[in-house]
Each structure stands twice: as C-alpha cells, then as structure tokens.
C-alpha cells in the first residue's frame, strides 16, 4: 500500500495551492530543463556518490546533534541543537550548493549565478564554484553588502564577483530579481543556484531534497541518543525556509512531531517594519512561485524589515505556505531585540555564537509552552561570526 503523503512532495509543481512556475517565457527553457532532469540526475548512483562524498569529506557531515545541558536547565526542558553552524562555510546553505553545483556540471553549465541576503548562500556558492572551477557571480542587495561586509570579503577571496542589486529595497528580494534577470539574459550557459526553497518549480522541491540530509541525520541521531526518532518538536527559523524545510523533511508526514516555524517580526508584526510573511502576507506570486507574501492591495510587493539579512524577505517558500495554511506548522514571530537577546543567551550558556537568523529560532523557546519531558530540536542553521558587529553595536549590549 502506498504511504499517504500530504506534505512532502509537490504535485505538478504545486504544494496544495502554492508553488508552480510563474515565469516569463524567456525562462521557460532553463526551468523546463531543470524540471525534466533534476529527479533523474539526483537518483543517478554517480551523482549520489559525489554528493554524499562531498557532504562527508568537504562539508564535514554528519553535523552533531548536541544536547545543550545549560540551556536545558535554563528552560527546564530538553534542548538539542542540530549543529549546521559547524558545516564548512558556517551554515546549512552549503548542503544545497554542493548538490546544485553537481547538478550544474551534469547539465553542462559553465557559469553560475546566485542571490544572497546574509551572504551565507553567496559564500556557499562561491565556495563550491571554487571547488569545481566555475565562474561565479553573486547578486547581493546594496544594503546587505554594507551590513554583511565580512561575507562580501569572503566571496571575493573565493574568486566570485559580487554585483550589487540597486533596485527596489536593495535587499534579498531585489538580489533575487537581478539574478533572475541575469538568467533571462544568459539562458544557455548559466545555472542559477537559488539559495532557498523559493522560486519556480522545481527549485523548492530540489533545494528541500538537498537540505533533507539534516532531518535524515536527526532521525538517526535521536534514535541513537533516545531510542526514538521523533522529537516533541522541531524549531527552525524561516526566511525563504531552506533550513526549516531540511529539518522538517523526514517528519512532514509524522504529525505527532510539532513543527515550529519562526519568522522575523522586525520591530513588531504590525509595526510596518517586519518580515513576518505568513502573518501579514497574503496569497500571491513572487519570484515565480505562488505563495504567501507581503504586498499592498494593488499587489505591489512590500519591502520587509528584519535585523537579520537572511530573514529579510517578503515571501516564504511554497512548501511553508502550504504547511502553515494546513496547520501542519505553527508560526512564532520574533522581534529584532528578542533575537539579539537569544544570541547572547546561547553564547553565554553554551559557548556558541549563533547567526542572527538562527537567533530567532532560539528566541522562540521563550514563546512556546515547554514541558520538562519535551524533546526540543532547534536547527542551529548558522554561526554568528558574520553578525558580530550587529550584536556588539545593538542597543543595551555594549
């Protein structure tokens, strides 16, 4: 009998009513080529061998599932951290770029483009391009270039060209627009490595599958530690939602496992300065995908705000829109200052400085009713070196 699958895979490119490929005809050949080939390539033994080999020897997988004793004492509940911050380049993003660069090679692409917000995906893309010797161009909002300077320098040292996106809000959304336009202008030799579970089908599914290694390891590690694959809940931050998608993937159909998606509330969900997409967003199309997004009554996309460049995105991956609409995932919104406090707490309780994005997931522990026997897994998606300046300069933390 076939297993009942409600959430894991898109059908005709759609997760429920979300997803699809709303793209100009100009992009059709590129996207269609991927749609026709991605599953086939991903199941080839030589691809899997290369992918798994690099994840192990280059990225450093499996990443530990760490029991955070002092955090558990503090919250009076069991807290495990899935240490994606220990991946090479400092975040989960590299799981996806390794997969996509191998995909690009098999599609005979010679030129790689990417968008980046916090710079983590840009660094992860520049890294794999250096690894295989392909040209790399990273689009980054002008505003993000200023607030994520260390990552810009890393990309350049890795040999990538960083092109500022100067249109619109000059952040992740605009960097994505510029990358898509670049692809329109260079359809034949270029592969676009999207960094999150956003964009036209098949990207949300492809990126989710590459990131699914996170929950695949989690299952085994929880079984080893606790004799049970299922935690009480998994908590992850969601901008576009790639780390959350990876951390949820193998649990999507296990409805006894609670999924907590943490969005950036910015200065407050209703402050007008927010990135809490699922709460103030409505259904619409962004970057080729039907999903929930922040927009005006006229359908103009609204400029989001978050202290975290990686969550500063007005949309959300269509998988997440589906999970939230179907009440499979629960949403918590965390404000800027709360996220910073949570980063300091983890730093001083466990000696781990988390990325600003991840700090939102940590802060959610304050907003959930935790029971002493609960097993809480937080996907520690990235490390916070890139955010040091923001942490140190933040009001009240001198």
């Amino acid at each position: 009998m076939e297993e009942r699958v409600k959430f894991t895979y898109p059908e005709n490119g759609f997760y429920g009513e979300f997803g699809g490929a709303f793209i100009p005809e100009l992009l059709q050949p590129c996207v269609e080529e991927l749609q026709h080939n991605y599953l086939k390539i991903m199941s080839e033994p030589s691809f899997l061998y290369a992918f798994e080999g690099l994840l192990k020897d280059y990225v450093g997988r499996p990443t530990p599932l760490y029991y955070a004793q002092r955090m558990s004492d503090y919250y009076k509940s069991h807290i495990y951290l899935k240490r994606e911050d220990l991946c090479h380049t400092g975040a989960h993003k590299v799981n996806n770029t390794i997969g996509q660069i191998l995909m690009a090679q098999r599609l005979n692409k010679k030129r790689i483009i990417a968008e980046t917000g916090a710079g983590q995906h840009g660094v992860a893309t520049a890294t794999v391009c250096a690894l295989v010797g392909l040209e790399c161009i990273v689009y980054m909002g002008e505003k993000d270039i200023a607030r994520q300077a260390p990552n810009v320098k890393r990309m350049k040292m890795l040999g990538a060209e960083v092109r500022p996106a100067r249109s619109g809000s000059k952040t992740l959304k605009d960097a994505t627009n510029e990358a898509i336009r670049d692809w329109i202008n260079n359809p034949e030799d270029t592969h676009y490595i999207i960094g999150s579970v956003v964009g036209p089908h098949p990207y949300p599914d492809m990126v989710t599958r590459f990131q699914s290694v996170i929950s695949q390891e989690m299952k085994r590690q929880l079984m080893e530690k606790l004799g049970n694959e299922n935690p009480t809940r998994i908590i992850a931050c969601v901008g576009g939602g790639s780390n959350a998608a990876g951390a949820y993937f193998h649990y999507l159909e296990r409805e006894e496992v609670e999924l907590v998606s943490v969005e950036a509330a910015g200065l407050g969900v209703h402050s007008g300065k927010t990135a809490a997409t699922s709460q103030i967003g409505t259904k619409g199309v962004i970057h080729g995908s039907m999903t929930l997004l922040m927009q005006t009554e006229d359908g103009q996309i609204v400029e989001p705000h978050s202290i975290s460049a990686g969550l500063d995105y007005p949309g959300i991956g269509p998988l997440h829109a589906h999970l939230i609409s179907a009440n499979r995932a629960k949403v918590v919104a965390i404000e800027d200052d709360h996220a910073v406090k949570a980063a300091y707490l983890l730093a001083q309780k466990e000696g781990i400085i988390p990325a600003l994005e991840t700090s939102h997931a940590l802060a959610a522990l304050d907003k959930i009713e935790l029971k002493p026997d609960d097993i809480n897994v937080i996907n520690l998606s990235g490390r916070g070196d890139k955010d040091l300046e923001t942490f140190i300069n933040f009001e009240g933390h001198e």
């Binding site: 490929a21 793209i23 100009p24 005809e25 059709q28 619109g168 199309v285 006229d298 103009q300 996309i301």
Partner: protein, 251 residues
C-alpha cells in the same frame, strides 16, 4: 468589434506598437501621451501597469515603473485614465503587467473593468501557457479581451504552435534572449523560421527595438514592431509633449 481585431483585419504590415509605462513621467501624463500617440498614427498602444518587481524588464522600464509608483499610479487610477482616453481616441489599447497585479485586484473584476473602460488586450509575461491553461483559461474565456503570449528565439516549434492556439491578440515575438531594452545582435534566421511557420495570429517583434532600422527590420519578417524602452528614454529626456518627434523618427 474588438479594436485589435479590427486593426488586424484592415492592416497586416508595418504595424507600430508603442509601449509607455502608466503614470510616467508624471501621474496624469498617460492620458496626453496616449492621445498624442493616437494622433501620430501609432497602431497599438501598450500601457504598462507599473510593478514593484518587473522580472522581465530591463533598467529603463524598471526605473519608469518605480517613478510611476512613486507618482501614485495604481489600477484604479489607470482605469480612470483609459476612460478619459476613450473619449477621444480609438487606438487599440493593450495592458501589460504582471500576474500578481491581476490576482490581487481579482481576475474577474480586472477583466470586467478592462472591458468596461475600453481596453482591448492583455500581455501578462509571467503567466505561462501551461498554468494559464490548467488554472485560469476558463476565467479569461468569459471576457472579450485578446490575449497575447510571448515567444523567444529558444521556444521550440511545438510550443509555439500551442502559444499560437492560446493567443487571440497577436504573438509577441521577443527578438533576443534578454530583458526589455537590451541591445543585442538579432538572429534573422529566427525571424525567418517563425515567418515560415504560417501561424494564425499576427506577429509583432519587440525587445531591444529602438529606431527606424529596427522597425524596418522587424517589418521584413513580421506584421510589425513594438518599441518600449527607447520611447520611454525619449519622453524622459525631451518631455511628455515630445511624442510626435519620436514617432516621426521611426516612420
């Protein structure tokens, strides 16, 4: 009869379609510019509904769209402007915009408004034929508006045939693989290949066409040409009054 249909029945060559972003350079310039285009003998006016994230557009149209939005342009204002235009001008009007704008306005409501103010056709570049057919065609079929889909140098023949079947305005032949306003070498073999396909719809060539030479080249292979970015740059440089000078430089 639909004005586009009427135009194509009476004219099959040298069709000039001029694109202008609604609300650019000033909010209410749309009305005077379209009237002047009509007087100057332009065959079709394509009015761009300015969008915050126009994926298929190059820098010129992006910037004009940003300015139009800052000027306060929105669909309600645009529909009033088209009403105003229709008091004087009978030039076929085609609206070009992104699918999200229709979705938020409500597709049925949008189509009804378009028809009632005198719009003749639509171009929605990010509504691909597959999704259109699967989810939205039934809605659009209720309206008399004419739809035009895009083809590019990379579109395979069987897909072009399907696009031809689903279009009932014209086929928008994108001249090069690029965003709007990009100047690239044109592959005349592509124009010839499409010309020889014997499609049902008239074909207009657009993207990167900026002057008389480009217009004439397009006319050798298709029923006409679409000029957008070059006209916007002209209006931006010389002012919204200077419409006829541009058209006279083209033909």
């Amino acid at each position: 009869m639909n004005r586009l249909q009427k135009l194509f029945q009476s004219k099959s060559k040298d069709i000039l379609n001029i694109y202008i972003t609604a609300g650019f350079p000033a909010l209410h310039d749309t009305v005077s510019i379209v009237k002047k285009l009509d007087k100057a003998g332009v065959d079709i006016v394509e009015i761009g509904m300015p969008y915050s994230d126009p994926l298929a557009d190059g820098e010129t149209i992006q910037k004009s769209s940003m300015r139009a939005l800052e000027n306060g342009m929105n669909l309600s204002v645009l529909f009033e402007q088209v009403k105003e235009i229709r008091k004087e001008a009978e030039v076929p009007i085609v609206l070009m915009g992104y699918f999200n704008q229709l979705l938020q306005y409500g597709i049925e409501r949008f189509l009804m408004q378009c028809e009632s103010v005198g719009v003749d056709g639509l171009i929605i570049p990010d509504l691909p034929i597959d999704i259109y057919e699967m989810k939205y065609k039934a809605l659009f079929d209720k309206s008399k508006l004419r739809l035009s889909f895009l083809i590019t140098p990379q579109t395979p023949a069987d897909r072009i045939k399907k696009i031809d079947l689903l279009s009932d305005g014209f086929i928008y032949m994108v001249s090069v693989n690029a965003t709007t306003g990009t100047e690239r070498n044109i592959d005349e073999q592509y124009f010839e290949r499409i010309h020889n396909m014997d499609l049902n719809n008239p074909r207009l060539i657009g993207f990167g066409i900026k002057d008389r030479a480009g217009y004439e080249q397009a006319n050798r292979f298709a029923n006409g040409a679409i000029i957008g970015s070059a006209f916007i740059r002209h209006v931006d440089t010389f002012g919204a009054e200077e419409v006829a000078t541009f058209i006279n430089s083209i033909r």
